[in-house]
């Protein structure tokens, strides 16, 4: 059953398309969620200098590699947006699939990294640093997974030339996921 959008969806009193407006509000709500995790972590971290010892066991190189992967995938998301603006749905879908590839790489590297750490005995129960490490990165990974799934749906539509405006919207969301990682990486890996 095709869903007929109400006229309300097509109006734009602010001049900003409704979908983009909604994605920005969604990101506002996400910012405070991650703000809560990172704020709590920072307050604890400042009060516990001894966490530096625990943090020294994280693998900065793997973290740096994942940062690179995510940044590159943001770049392909921008290319997808550019293609969608030109009305080339097939090309946009292709770039979105590349972006999903970035997400998959990120998740594979993350799984490997966590497996190594858990085998070394650093689990979520080890101490509060590791609890924050797995919780914050896990919450972020969930967003990567959700973003990749939605991207797949958007790409399938875009391939058939439908709902091309959504390519931009998933791109905005993907940049956000990227930016969260930019905060997580120094806080969890570099600060030792």
């Amino acid at each position: 059953m095709a869903f007929a959008k109400p006229q309300a969806t097509l109006r734009s009193a602010t001049g900003i398309p409704t979908g983009r407006l909604a994605v920005w509000w969604l990101l506002a709500s996400e910012v405070v969620i991650f703000g809560g995790v990172l704020g709590s972590y920072l307050m604890h971290r400042l009060g516990h200098p001894e966490w530096a010892e625990a943090a020294s066991h994280t693998n900065t190189w793997i973290g740096a590699f994942n940062t690179l992967v995510l940044l590159t995938s943001s770049f392909t998301a921008v290319l997808a947006h550019q293609a969608a603006e030109k009305g080339d749905g097939k090309k946009a879908a292709g770039f979105l699939v590349l972006t999903m590839g970035g997400a998959l790489t990120f998740l594979c590297v993350k799984s490997y990294e966590w497996t190594v750490e858990i085998l070394e005995g650093f689990t979520i129960q080890s101490n509060t640093f590791w609890s924050f490490y797995y919780t914050a990165a896990g919450l972020h990974a969930l967003h990567v997974i959700a973003g990749a799934i939605i991207m797949g749906i958007v790409a399938a539509d875009a391939y058939r030339g439908r709902e091309l405006q959504r390519v931009e919207l998933i791109g905005i969301y993907w940049h956000f996921v990227d930016v969260v990682w930019i905060f997580l990486f120094p806080l969890l890996y570099i600060a030792k």
Binding site: A4, A22, W25, S40, H48, Q165
Partner: protein, 572 residues
């Protein structure tokens, strides 16, 4: 981007031309994406949860006033059950009654109708929001029937009590409670994004920012407040869930965690939450008062800016809940000042309403009585809040019945009086029939008088030092005097009387719905756009075309006009 937008709009037009075959029968209601139907779903689910919450209040008030009594319709109350009942009464009344009814139900019903749109901007997200909400309600109810029973660590859910199963003895109940609350948050985040975007983008042509009815502004400001305050608590809830299930120690000081962290995260949300539900109730009140005083709202912009100021300030008051939690006394000073400051914008809101009434030709219909009662009763709640905001007094009053009576004097007017005001005012629009005024007034007085009789004794008990959350006061000789028990019994009997009078309300709804006088489009002769369409409005709201707007919503008693009202959609 312009290119894409044109392409998609063209594409939508093609879709409109299709006949669209929806589901039929009962599925038509369950799977409806119509904002009015979703509003009804929220309204009736909220009311059903309200009845469950009221039943809980009945059971534990009986136990408090008559310890060890065999409560009719429940039986003996054990200490664990008592804790579970008070915990879930609080959770239900705030998260599953006040929010779904005031924000979700009336927001869904009113925003598109009042701004002249045919639906919300994202009808399917709207439906998803309700479905998640319904699941959260079912999970909460289910948490009572698992091994160990429902969670009993108070709606504030402080660790370590909430985090450690050995302490709370409700291993499954506490996790289910937390899951239900988290899902409810997700539902309202989805709903909130919808409300905000709809108000920003989908206004009728000609409707400028200051032509939007105040209640829509209030619901949207409340949604923004909710969205910006709930995030840290969602993060905190994930951490608490991990403490409960994965064995982390975020809130365990022995393992480097901090239990007070939860209190900060909780109240950073918990205090703005008061304004999240207050603002829609004030919005409803001002709509009703403008209509029945037949007078323009005194200071539309002042009201709007004041609400924004309230919202901003509400982010800086949270630690007044923690004066005795071991926070730095210097911080207590700061939070005392911010807390007392927030009474300034709230007082302004009250004065705007009083100034609107001044010189109006007031009609004391049932909705107007509810609106006036809201102001009067909320004022008592606000004034007693000053006692608790001042850290010196709070150290004595903390966790006594004074606190309990104070927040019931705020939440009862918001969630119950505000809801009845809105329900009786918009009933003709929702169901196309007028409500019976006599029954409505009987119900009004039968609710307001017992309400005061319940909570005034509780203020006195609180000042006498009666601690909250005590299962049986007979175990505390200081609190077991005859005078104390008499006041507890007055409160409980008043509660029973109030509950009985609610039957009048349900009878009134039923009889008015079946046999009431036809309401017509605009029974109250009000200006806002929802009164320019049929009652009840059909799918798409204005079948003959969406309205245009020419003026603000409160042009009553305009000197140049014969009629004392001037609907927003009438050209000059």
């Amino acid at each position: 981007m312009a290119h894409t937008a044109t392409a998609t709009e063209h594409h939508h037009d093609a879709h409109h031309a299709h006949d669209h075959h929806g589901p039929t029968g009962i599925l038509k209601y369950i799977w409806s994406t119509d904002h009015k139907m979703i509003a009804m779903q929220y309204l009736f689910t909220g009311m059903a949860m309200g009845l469950i919450g009221a039943y809980m209040a009945y059971v534990f008030r009986m136990q408090t006033a008559f310890p060890g009594v065999n409560v009719p319709g429940y039986g003996q109350v054990s200490p664990g059950e008592y804790n579970a009942l008070i915990t879930n009464h609080g959770s239900i009344m705030i998260f599953w009654v006040a929010m779904p009814v005031l924000i979700a139900a009336f927001g869904n019903y009113l925003i598109p109708l009042m701004i002249g749109a045919d639906d919300m901007v994202f009808p399917r997200i709207n439906r998803l929001s309700y479905q998640i909400f319904l699941i959260s309600a079912l999970i909460l109810i289910a948490s009572f029937f698992v091994q160990g029973g429902g969670f009993g660590g108070a709606w504030t859910s402080y660790p370590p009590l909430s985090a450690v199963a050995e302490y709370n003895q409700t291993n499954l109940g506490s996790s289910l409670w937390l899951l239900a609350v988290a899902l409810e948050f997700v539902a309202f985040l989805l709903g909130g994004i919808n409300f905000i975007t709809t108000l920003m983008n989908s206004r009728a042509p000609g409707m400028k920012a200051y032509d939007i009815p105040l209640v829509c502004w209030m619901i949207v400001i409340a949604s923004i407040l909710f969205m910006l305050s709930v995030g840290p608590l969602i993060a905190g809830a994930v951490m608490l869930l991990f403490d409960q299930t994965l064995g982390t120690g975020f809130y365990d000081p022995a393992r480097g965690g901090d239990p007070v962290l939860w209190q900060h995260l909780f109240w950073f949300f918990g205090h703005p939450e008061v304004y999240v539900v207050l603002l829609p109730a004030i919005g409803i009140t001002i709509e009703i008062i403008a209509t029945f005083a037949r007078k323009k709202v005194f200071g539309y912009k002042m009201m709007l800016y004041t609400s924004v100021a309230t919202g901003v300030l509400s982010f800086f008051v949270w630690a007044h809940h923690q004066f005795i939690a071991g926070i730095d006394p210097r911080m207590a000073n700061v939070f005392t000042i911010t807390t007392l400051l927030i009474s300034v914008p709230i007082a302004e809101l009250c004065f705007v309403i009083i100034a609107t009434l001044y010189g109006g030709s007031i009609r004391l219909t049932t909705p107007m009585l509810w609106a006036l009662a809201f102001m009067a009763e909320f004022l008592i709640g606000g004034v007693t809040g000053i006692f608790l905001g001042a850290s010196g007094a709070d150290i004595y009053f903390h966790d006594t019945y004074f606190v309990l009576a104070h927040f019931h004097y705020t939440f009862f007017p918001i969630a119950i009086i505000g809801t009845f005001a809105a329900f009786t005012y918009w009933f003709p629009k929702m169901f196309g029939k007028m409500m019976n005024e006599t029954l409505g007034k009987i119900h009004f007085w039968g609710t307001i008088i017992p309400f005061n009789l319940i909570f005034i004794p509780l203020f006195v008990l609180g000042m006498g030092g009666e601690h909250r959350r005590i299962y049986n006061y007979e175990h505390f000789p200081d609190l077991a005097s005859d005078g104390f028990f008499m006041m507890r019994q007055i409160a409980t009997i008043a509660l029973l009387v109030m509950l009985v009078f609610q039957l009048v309300f349900f009878f009134n709804c039923f009889i008015s719905w079946r046999k009431g006088e036809k309401a017509g489009k605009n029974p109250w002769k009000a200006n806002t756009l929802e009164w320019t369409t049929e009652s009840p409005p059909p799918h798409g709201n204005w079948p003959e075309g969406l309205p245009n707007v020419y003026r603000g919503p409160y042009e009553y008693a305009h000197p140049d006009r014969k009629d004392d009202y001037w609907p927003q959609d009438q050209p000059v």
